[in-house]
């Protein structure tokens, strides 16, 4: 119990003293997760939308699979990415292992299905609404997807935020491909895992609270930017 209190104090101390290590790993966490979010969205938003408007033979199968991939175990993803990037793996020569890039790659793989699924679900509604009009205006597939993404951007926010949340809190994969190397690939979550292992719960919790604060900050910022709630029919 008092550990939780100690954790809050630790978080407070870390923040007010602007502990340089903390700042470093926090920025790295942000950098990795935001990059992963951007890259994943570039695939996932169009793909999810495309799934919503396109009817083809194995559509249901594809969607079910996509939903299933939301359950990709991070550790396994990490392992596979590790094997691919490992020196003895096919992309070993790139020397990406144990770098932030490797962590971004792993996280992209983890969050893309999540973002795509939520996008698909949100876009089906909008497509049902726009279907006749867009067909009638003789639009190209590309134009349809663009229109839906643009007009549905506010609902897509949730998809993106879900992806970011999954990324920023993820540890299993980046631990393996990043290696949690001090001053190189250590991020908040891996640091938390480390301190937990040392039994230093106060510090672990402190870092955890910092991470949560970070997530809150990002979300408030994004919400402030896109005035989500102004939307809707009221």
């Amino acid at each position: 119990m008092n550990e939780i209190w100690a954790g809050i104090q630790a978080a407070f101390r870390l923040i007010v003293t602007l502990d340089p290590d903390l700042v470093e790993i926090t920025l790295r966490s942000l950098q990795v997760s935001l990059s992963a979010l951007v890259i994943a969205s570039l695939f996932a938003l169009p793909f999810g939308t495309w799934l919503a408007i396109r009817r083809f033979r194995f559509r249901r199968l594809t969607i079910a699979t996509l939903n299933a991939l939301m359950g990709l175990p991070p550790v396994v993803v990490g392992l596979i990415v590790y094997l691919l990037l490992s020196r003895s793996g096919p992309f070993g020569v790139l020397g990406l292992l144990f770098t932030p890039t490797a962590m971004i790659i792993a996280q992209v793989i983890i969050i893309t299905p999540l973002i795509a699924s939520i996008t698909h679900q949100a876009m089906r509604e909008l497509w049902a609404e726009y279907h006749d009009l867009l067909i009638s205006l003789n639009t190209t597939k590309r134009q349809r997807i663009a229109t839906l993404i643009w007009d549905g951007r506010r609902t897509l926010l949730t998809a993106a935020l879900a992806g970011f949340g999954r990324a920023i809190g993820e540890v299993g994969a980046i631990m393996i491909v990043g290696g949690n190397i001090d001053h190189a690939t250590r991020v908040l979550t891996t640091a938390i895992a480390l301190e937990t292992g040392k039994g230093d719960f106060a510090l672990a919790l402190g870092l955890g609270f910092v991470l949560i604060a970070l997530a809150l900050l990002v979300n408030f910022a994004i919400h402030a930017l896109s005035r989500t709630e102004r939307e809707g029919r009221w």
């Binding site: 726009y130 006749d132 009009l133 009638s136 205006l137 003789n138 134009q143 229109t147 007009d151």
Partner: protein, 237 residues
Amino acid sequence: MSAPMSVVLEQAVITRRGARILGPIDMALGATGFTIVLGPNGAGKTSLLKVLHGVERLSSGRITWSVPEHAAREAQAYVFQKPIMLRRSVQHNLAFPLQLLKVGKPEIGTRVADWSRRIGLGDALDRPAKRLSGGEQQKLALARALIRHPQVVFLDEPCANLDGRSTREIESLLLDASKAGTRIIMTTHDIGQARRLASDVVFLLNGRVREQAAARDFFAAQQTDEARAFLNGDIIE
């Protein structure tokens, strides 16, 4: 004006979850004229228009336009029974069809200004279209369809929610367009309006074409009791 567009339906049928909601229909529509499709609720008017326009697919049978599929789609416009409003402002709704065609900004600006004025929404350009009143939405949908100067226009009860004056304005606007050579295919439940506008009439009943004739002949003397009953607003058969 490019090649005239006539269309032929052969044994056209739409079935939805087992039930046949349209057809079988054999019908030909010429390249010119102002066709009014009449029929009671659920007769299949909307379905027929959608099939002609190509937003609804046939379950069986054939539809053939006198010009290649693509050209046909390019030159057509449709005003749906329930106006479909993009989640955008009035002016962006008007601009949308032109943007799709990569029309230049200034050109778009002038056309949007012109049409928004015509439908009396000149001072509502920045309002979200979804917040417009029923009639305003219907007028916006109409303008958005005509702004591309289509050769063929499908209108599904375009004046249902309009006040007397707007109705009159729209009617004259349509007559002008028709005179200018635009092919118009329209449904309405307002017999008076049908009389004022139609050059020829298609009377639908239970998904079948019950009667097809020149407007003059049709309103003068219906060939079928059903049509007669319908016009009197009586119970049909």
